[in-house]
Amino acid sequence: MERLFFYFIAIIILVFSVMAVNSRNMMRSIIYLLFVLLGVAGIYFLLEYNFLAAVELSVYAGGIIILYINSIMLIDKIGVPMEKPKGSRQLLAGLLSIFGLGVSLFAIYSYHFNQTATTTETTVKELGKHLLSYGNNGFILPFELISIFLLAALVGAIAIAKSTKTLK
């Protein structure tokens, strides 16, 4: 049953990734990308990793896609289909994708995965403790770095928004 679900979601991800890249209509490729992200969230749900799935939904699908849609709406000639990239670029992109695929496959096949009999549900309490712990398996440094990064982004956004007003 789970295998069936996995293949179903995997096919959705694959088909929509290809469609997202190949579509000549920007708005449509964004929507295909959204379906890819929803599929990834589905994979996380299948792994019973609910928290990451919800983060995927709210940050990527809910946040970044809306940001993309907003910025695309500001582009001129949005209704005109995009032109195909040049041959050399297509070749370069293809080579890069093959390289990326190779690296991922190598990483997956060279790592020895341990099979576990039971799935453990990660509770929010555990997540919180790990995020703020100094010891082993602690994530305090990345957590603080991201906090400072977000603060810097906020301050930067406010500074940019303010400066245009004073220039007038």
């Binding site: 708005m27 449509r28 919800a54 983060v55 939904l57 699908a61 809910g62 849609i69 709406m73 309490k125």
Partner: protein, 352 residues
């Protein structure tokens, strides 16, 4: 994950009938899905009727009272009319996205409905990140509105869609922060546990000052989230026609209409779960009787929905700059201070 504790005899009966664990599971899931779809449609129709009756009450009219007893079948008749209507569309619209948009809105509402604890027995998906799942799924609904506005190929629709986007993304922040405030008090995200923790005192009394501030912010933010007056400039008739769904007709329009009412119901449910003890009866007066939880839950939700409707027919519509000022200059700082206040209350043990 699927709670069927009180329905175990139904489960046993089905298992005996089908004699196959997987097939039984599939049949059960199908039955639950159909039941939820039916409930979805029924709640939507009843809410539309309630809205019209309450509007009439506020405006000293009678409202729909001809079809069936007390006009009960008015919205059913309306729905039948909408089903039989022709689906029109603009010629130069992006047909794929145009057709997709209403489903986005209605499916997100349906998925969010699955985690609502209607009573101890009736909750489909008691996931351990419950309330976070609700927020992340309901944040997808706005994409449908964006798409509807953009793909209609209509200026008014586009402006309506953009306005919704700005408004919903802004007010989602407030809803999220209120939820964080209440999660500090509860210490869990799971909805069934949040309700269970309110066995003796509801959270609005447990967190007193901070919870009351959070409740008021939540009422404002939910009204804005569901695009209802005074925040309905998305579909301000005098400025934008019907906003993002100007170009939709028949059932496609009905999906938007229905999901708007469902979102109101879902917001009210979340408010009831977070502040008023969900399906728990006041002072535990009906604690022993099965299925009374459903009654109390629906009663509480109805009261909250009545307040939403009261807002709608009392306040005039805001301008877009006023809406953004309200969110970013007032609600956001209030919320930030409130989170710290709640954390201090919990830390010092000042909660009841």
């Amino acid at each position: 994950m699927i709670i069927l504790s009180n329905f175990s005899n139904i489960h046993q009966w089905l298992l005996g009938l089908i004699q196959n664990a997987v097939a039984t599971r599939v049949v059960e899931l199908t039955i639950i899905a159909l039941a939820y779809l039916a409930a979805f449609a029924l709640i939507g129709l009843l809410l539309v009727l309630a809205e019209r009756r309450i509007a009439a009450f506020f405006q000293l009219r009678l409202g729909p009272n001809r079809v069936g007893p007390w006009g009960l079948f008015q919205t059913v008749a309306d729905a039948l009319k909408l089903v039989s209507k022709e689906l029109t569309g603009t010629v130069k619209a992006d047909k794929f996205l145009y057709g997709l948009a209403p489903y986005f809105v209605i499916i997100t509402a349906l998925v969010s409905m699955s985690i609502i604890p209607f009573s101890k027995e009736v909750q489909v998906f008691d996931i351990n990140i419950g309330i976070f799942f609700f927020i992340s799924v309901s944040s997808l609904g706005v994409i449908g509105i964006f798409l509807a506005g953009w793909s209609s190929n209509n200026k008014y629709s586009l402006i309506g869609g953009m306005r919704t986007g700005i408004q919903m993304v802004s007010y989602e922040l407030s809803v999220g922060m209120v939820v964080v405030t209440m999660v500090i008090l509860s210490g869990t995200l799971q909805l069934s546990q949040i309700v269970a923790l309110q066995q003796h005192t509801w959270f609005i009394f447990q967190g007193h000052v901070s919870a009351i501030i959070a409740f008021m912010v939540m009422m404002i933010a939910s009204t804005a989230e569901t695009n209802r007056t005074p925040f309905d400039l998305v579909e301000a008739e005098s400025e934008l026609g019907a906003g993002f769904h100007t170009e939709y007709s028949g059932m496609n329009f009905a999906y938007f209409f229905l999901s708007e009412f469902m979102n109101m119901f879902l917001s009210a449910s979340i408010i009831v779960v977070l502040f008023f003890g969900g399906w728990l009866s006041p002072f535990g007066i009906t604690a022993g009787i099965p299925f009374m939880g459903l009654f109390w839950f629906i009663l509480k939700v109805s009261v909250v929905i009545f307040i939403f409707m009261w807002f709608r027919w009392t306040f005039p519509r805001l301008r877009i700059d006023q809406i953004l000022t309200l969110e970013w200059k007032y609600l956001l700082p209030i919320n930030m201070v409130n989170i710290v206040l709640m954390a201090a209350l919990v830390w010092l043990g000042l909660t009841f």
